[in-house]
Amino acid sequence: MAHLQLKAISKSFGNFQAVRDINLDIKDREFVVLVGPSGCGKSTLLRMIAGLETISSGDLFIDGERVNGREPDERGLAMVFQSYALYPHMTVEQNMGFALRLAGVPKDVRHQKVLDAARKLQLESMLDRRPSELSGGQRQRVAIGRTIVRDPKAFLFDEPLSNLDAALRGQMRIELAKMHQELEATMVYVTHDQVEAMTMADRIVVLRNGSIEQMGPPVELYQNPATAFVAGFLGSPKMNLFDVSAIERSHDSTVVILSEQNRLKLGNWPVSGRQITVGIRPEAVQISNSGDLVGKVEVVEHLGAEQLIYLNIGTEDLLTVRCHQPTAVKIGEPLRVEVDPSRMHVFDANGRAVMRNAA
């Protein structure tokens, strides 16, 4: 339905540059998630697309048309807000039909469209209620229904699930994914929650300090993070990241010294420089009596299907180990683990990923 092009888009508030030089092509029917920590400029970027925030420089095209100066409603987009932003004095039906009413759509057509959308979202029985009489999840549905009714070119979501409890959030994630398939619509979704990004996106755009850090499909970003920041941001529990300054090089291998008792053999990485960061996903660590690393068990978290073990290996941060089988470990006792060298990541002093030498 819509193809969004962002060309060199920037936004500054006074001297503060919130968004810098963003180039992004959002294809028709694509589900793009903008993700990053708070203050990274993701919401500002979304609001510029929506037309709620002016664009300081750069161009925004929707289906090839430049829309920089257009009013929000003239861009043919719809948005779901973090607080839902329902009109408290209107019924559900009036809320959902407000845009059509302003556009001068006749009452019966309006009613039919609202009814269709309400049916999709199981809201038919609530059309006469006011937002204050609805639960959080129902309000969320009305906010989504309000956007569906307008049949927009693209849907924008600004952290829509952050006000829901964990269970409802999981359920809504699935519903939004289903909705994306059914409506075959372009969607731009802002969140700080990497789980939402990983589960729903066709493509994730990781933002940091107003710039794009990396973008790509979720699995790709998870497996090949371009920077230590992306590596640490995506994935739960977090990737283990250790800053290392002591490196021993010999002709065929490189050994990094993590702590007094622990050193880790790197494979064939062309490590140069003195300061690197080693990244190890918790699932890339396994308990093994012949492992390289040894540490004291500090904390064990049983999550049912899996178990997280936090090891003190003498570094500043604990090493997180993810086990899929329940393992009998005792707090305070030493545990030996092994790291799969093919699943390690190395980042240079600037946090950029270092590519492995071709074998």
Partner: protein, 311 residues
Amino acid sequence: MMASNEAIPADVVQSEADSTPDKDAPGVKTAPLLAPSVVLLLAWMIVPLGMTLWFSFQRYNLLSPNISGFAGFNNYAFLLANGALWNAIFNTILLVGGVLIATLVLGLVCAVLLNQEFAGNSVARLFCILPFFVMPTVSALVWKNLLMHPVNGLFAWISKSLNLPVVDWFTDLPLFSIGIIVAWQWIPFATLVLLTSLQSLDREQVEAARMDGARGWSLFTNITLPHLCRSLTIVAMIETIFLLSIFAEILVTTAGGPGNSSTTLPYLIYKIAMLDWNVGIASAGGVVAIILANIVALFLIRTIAHTLERQ
């Protein structure tokens, strides 16, 4: 009357940044929306103020239209040399200060009591704030006649039944009596503001203090009172602004007397203007009153502008 040059709050700066730098920005012209209010208030401020200032330097008496012309500082000199002005200023300070202390203390007592759980406390609150809605002329006359009349008043009867001397309130204690009436009218205001403030006191903070061992009086002085501090300041300043203009209560009870013993600055100016018809001197008095009010206003405006920034 005064412009504030304090720093513009951050949120205003931000919205300003939102709405100006881009030529594409769709904007709303606010000038036509603001114009009616601003023009009206500007006229209301400048015209009479200018006239007062102008008259204060003129020889101008409506009873003797032949005398006119520039008076220089004569009107001010006459006023300042005249004991009546200083007496009036003294009375004003006494009245405002006394009423202020009374309303803050009693208002605090009322607020704390009404904040307790007891049967019918919401009805009690309605009756407690009743005096605030009584027009000043009514309250003054009810107090003067029905309550404080030396022969037929309720207070006289109470004194007599207790074998106490009967007080002729408006003859023996004129300013004090007016103070009682005014305080009665303004206690509800203090009560309401402080009650609102009390109810916004964080429950968890109180509970934390109780876990730490604070109770009763120590809870009140260590937690409640500091919390009320800002509200008490605001009540004091707003009341001062209104109390500096107390007029009707004096007019219908003592008319400033006996002698000048209950003449305040507003009442003195009223007498010079509306009874002596001396425009020049009354205007000079008006300027003095404006200066006095602005000293208080300055502090009040600072405080309120500060809350605007915090929002």
